[in-house]
Amino acid sequence: MTKIQPPLGGSHRRPDAMAKATGQTRYVGDLALPGMLHAAIAVSDRASARVLNFDVASARRMPGVEAVVTADEIPGDNQVGVIFPDQPLLVTDRVRMVGDRLALVAARTPEEAWDAARAISPAYEDQPGVFDPEKALDETSPTLHGTDNLLHTFQVLRGQTDPDHLDADVIVEAHYEIGGQDHAYLEPQACLAVPEGDRITISASCQCPFYIQQAVARVLAIPLASVRVEQAPTGGAFGGKEDYPSEPAACAAMLAWRTRRPVRLLYSREFDLQVTTKRHAMVVQHRWGADKNGRLVFAEVEAVLDCGAYAGLSTVVAERANVSAIGPYAVPNIMVRTRIAYTNNLFGGAYRGFGAPQVSFAAEATMDTLAHRLGMDPLEFRRINLVTPSDPLTCTDQPLAAPQMAQACLDRAVKDSEEHQIAPRAPDSWRRGRGISLALYGINLHRGGQFLDRSSAVVILQPDASVIVRVGLTEMGQGNLAAVQTVTAAALGIQPDKVQVWQPDTTTVADSGPTVASRGSHSSGRAVLDAIERLRRRLDPIAAELLGCRPEDVELADSCARVSGGGPSVPLIDVTREMAARRIETISTGWYRSKPRVFDEATGMGEPYASYAMACHVVDVAVDPDLGLVRVEHVAAAHDVGRVLHRTAAEGQVEGGVVQAMGWALTEELKLDQGRLLNPSFTDYLIPTSDDAPPVTVALLEDAPGRGPFGSKGLGEPAFIPTAAAIRNAVCAALDVEINRLPLTPPVIVRALAGNHRFKHLME
């Protein structure tokens, strides 16, 4: 429809940058209304217990308290489970995890609200809990819901799948224990609920205002149309604000409904760390075989996700994990089984990569181990086994449109890694290692979530040729405003500063699903292009009149309408003024939905995703061989992005993904004891500091167009997926050890050196 033109691929200032950098952006925590009350939540401090009784009368009498709400006062469904109805908003008789909600408090100050919430302490009868996902699947384990703890099983079965017949010259068996991760967004969970007669407005820090709309309508038993959800400026999300914000929003809405006053709910960092969803911890068992020439013969994967106490999004996370377990390698015989186990741990949810980082970590670690056993260079071993144009099938038998991009990303990252000229930062006495990891990323929602994959846009052309845009997908720091602004400006041939993109609001755009799965710029950009196409059915005839040409010969560029092929032009503003003068409709809606796909859940064969992106990270590390400290010295990241929309935003996605994955790989450890988080603060839950962040050489490869606007592909998640395995492979190469767990904290590394450590006698 439209040619590639500025500002596509450029680095104009992001529209939200100045307000954020100067503190003008008003987050929920900056909002206050007259008469506003503050909410707090009374939660369980134990992971598995019967609630015998609990008394809220004394909390109601505490200073400043205006309302205390328990389950029996909920007008609608006491239910916030996003897929399965297994999670009450407020528990009544049983708690299944630390952080289960008992009651809601509204008070005049936040201190009074949280004091009263903390004072609510039921009589419990502790029940046996289960905290190990593999043990949870034993028949004898205590169950959380129903008769067993197995939530769901997914499989990929390709070629010969009978383990007794899977044999090869070299076989690697490995057991991976992969830890969870907190999202550590800068802004903890936050929302503001304002009741008004029979309707309510929620401002929330979130990734899906529509989920919140549905949850609030369900809990309050009011029509969807009575719930308005505005996307508030959102200080980071990473999946942690996909499904979870429905819960605090339902809490604030309940209290607002009950008190008929505005109610704001802000989580403290400590509370947020303890009660919100996490990246799933996983246990992955591998048995992979290769022939003596280095060709992979089979891959057997047994993965168990620690779901925690409630299903949340675990089934869709597992769905992605299941088909991501092999990576971009051509393997004839595949047996993947992915199971989800309920436990009394914190519950797993969406997190950048959505199950793929854990299984990719295992796959890329096994690739290195296999290469070593074969006596091959891990780089060469990968080259031999990558998907190629002659062997272009994914593990689900889906042909890749651009399989050559796997090799292209590998070559580029290796080249950038070898050529980088960055002085080492760690002492010379540390050991050096290089690690490689690739990712094959299914862009956009899995076929199982495809019913959510639609997107709405509204474009309003102003008389001065500026444009207002609304899309249904959200800005949460990742750059969706910049992406949509860029797409709009490029499609209309105008300057980006003439385009104002506004955050979604459920009263201005239709349900567009969640901003997840690297689908933001893809789905909202496509909807905007659709809106612009419809708008031009009204604009082009006016322009054609002014230009004296046929409407189909009108093109828009350089803020002008012109006759295509270099004919005369008129300023676009003349066209928009003429449209205004003639009272021509200048508002246009747009829509995007993905095409139906075929997928057999029993065998895992088919088209789980519409298209794919490749990525390769090559990491240089230095490791202190005595103390086990790791310094990531350099990361070369090559990504198959199809088309760059906004260059600095894209590079920022990659750099951010690398650093976030580095934290997961090295220092971020959720220390749980009987389901309770022992380190719920940034004092002891250690995310990387800017001083730890490595230099990242980012290569954005534009050789294979994708299905997003102007051929772009999703980038948010592939930016994260390869890093941890590359770090692990680099650390193992530096020390000549095999470590199959995350995070690689210094004690884990020192312990792995065991017999070779100088002070091994001190380790008993």
């Binding site: 100050t109 936040p110 201190e111 949280w114 004091d115 903390r118 802000l266 403290s268 400590e270 509370f271 005595d626 103390l627 400290l629 090295l666 220092t667 220390k671 022992l678 380190n679 603060s681 004092t683 002891d684 250690l686 990387p688 500091t689 001083d691 730890d692 904290t745 210094p746 004690p747 020192v750 450590h757 002070f759 001190l762 380790m763 008993e764």
Partner: protein, 285 residues
Amino acid sequence: MDLSVKDIYRPLTFDEAVAAFSDEPSMLPIAGGTDISVQMRAGKFAGAHLLDLSGVLPRSISADGGFIEIGAGATMDEIADSGPLRSVCPALCQAARKVGAWPIQCRATLGGNLANASPAADTAPPLLVADALVVAAGQGGLRNIEAEDFFAGPGENTLKPGELIHSIRLPVTDPPSFSRFTKLGWQREQIISVVSLSISLHLNDQGLVTKAAAALGAVAATPKRAPSVEAVLVGHSLDPAAISRAVEAVQNDITPIDDIRAPAWYRRVAAATLVERMLEEASGA
């Protein structure tokens, strides 16, 4: 979340603070507040009466006879940048620069870091090594407490009820030839020590150690001196054999525990490694 306190008493002078605290020793003294506010967020000290010392603590760093006197209200940033301290006790300046991030260093006070009595307090090892005196102010005036006698356990010090830290006195008549501080955590900055170490050495013209002092943090219930390390160093040159003896000796000086930051065995390995590296650095210096 905001902090929940009952009231705040803000004296106009240090003497007034001492008098008020003597009358009401249950008050919670607060200076920079960088540690108390974190603990308050975790629910500790709910309903506390705060005694706000921020405007009244002595905070100058001045030479006084054979001592440098550091006011208890001196901030980590002021200590890290102090010219006199850099020349006589660089280890203390290095430690001060490693407490949290720079904004924290601009608020956190030396008195607070000591009174808080964390086993991982970064300024403690250098002060222990320097034979510092903690000057306590109470109803009866000032009294000196040897730094080594100051710490009583995690969060426990030997101040008497109603006493405040007035200042810290560092003897400086005989500055060491070598003075260092180092700390270990999983990150390079903004980290609570998993193990910290300070060593000071006096070396004679022949390179023999005439006086040695070492102290560690986060390896026992309190920051503590390492007498075994000191004993094996004095009278020897810093050759590999001496260093190796010190590396072994430090194990007798520490009683680490498993906690959420690290297992005890790792702290033993780390203490050995840090002692070795610091002495190797000293031997080359």
